[in-house]
């Protein structure tokens, strides 16, 4: 049981390049989330999904896209990288519930845009 895995761990992009951050969970969780973490700012929610085929915007969605074709995978796409997207990105998942529940986090992807 690997939990939440993210690839790559580190990446450097040039301005205008695109990339996909991968996230996979093997806990059969319905809910999945993408956050970005900037120094002194805590975690900001980018997008979330409550199940396969369903996604919704979080607090800071601009410049990102997501898809959820399976329960396990929730990739985050950056189409035109900008320096403002330099950050650490965390994927998380949580089980279905009628109330809030613990989120399980991946180890993060450190992205630098130059």
């Amino acid at each position: 049981n690997a939990g939440v895995t993210q690839t790559p761990k580190f990446r450097i992009l040039k301005i205008g390049q695109s990339m996909t951050l991968q996230c996979t969970q093997d806990m059969n969780h319905n809910y999945m989330y993408w956050y970005r973490q900037d120094p002194g700012m805590g975690l900001k929610l980018i997008y979330y999904s409550v199940g396969a085929g369903i996604t919704d915007k979080g607090e800071v969605p601009n410049g990102y896209n997501v898809s959820r074709s399976t329960t396990e995978d929730f990739p985050l796409r950056l189409e035109l990288a900008a320096p403002s997207q330099t950050s650490v990105y965390f994927c998380a998942s949580s089980p279905p519930t009628t109330s809030a529940n613990e989120q399980f986090f991946g180890p993060g992807t450190r992205l630098t845009v130059l």
């Binding site: 900001k44 998380a92 109330s99 993060g108």
Partner: protein, 114 residues
């Protein structure tokens, strides 16, 4: 507006000393409350959570937190800090009602002196 405040950006304590990390929230109704810990280069791990009932909740690693409705606070405590507790600590809230969109505080970085 809904918000979570962790007023202390950095805290330094000596090993063996007691610890209290502050968290205040601003919500119309009592949300679900969480404390997470992030070790350097790692994802976030849940320490404890409050949903309802006893206002003093116990967590992992010897941590506890007390919910005070009158003060809109959920402070984290530990009676005796160990060097391995050095990390960043995040308070998070999730509104009741099914949105499952967590809001994180900006974090408190704990340094432990030997």
């Amino acid at each position: 507006a809904q918000s979570v405040t962790q007023p202390d950006i950095h805290i330094t304590v000596s090993e063996g000393a007691s610890l209290e990390l502050r968290c205040n929230y601003s919500y119309g109704a009592t949300p679900y409350l969480f404390w997470y810990v992030q070790s350097p280069g790692q994802g976030l791990q849940l320490l404890l959570k409050y949903f309802s009932g006893d206002t003093l909740v116990q967590g992992i690693k010897g941590f506890e937190a007390e919910f005070k409705r009158s003060q809109s606070s959920f402070n984290l405590r530990k009676p005796s800090v160990h060097w391995s507790d050095a990390a960043e600590y995040f308070c998070a809230v999730c509104p009741r009602g099914g949105t499952y969109k967590y809001i994180f505080g900006t974090g408190t970085r704990l340094k432990v002196l030997a």
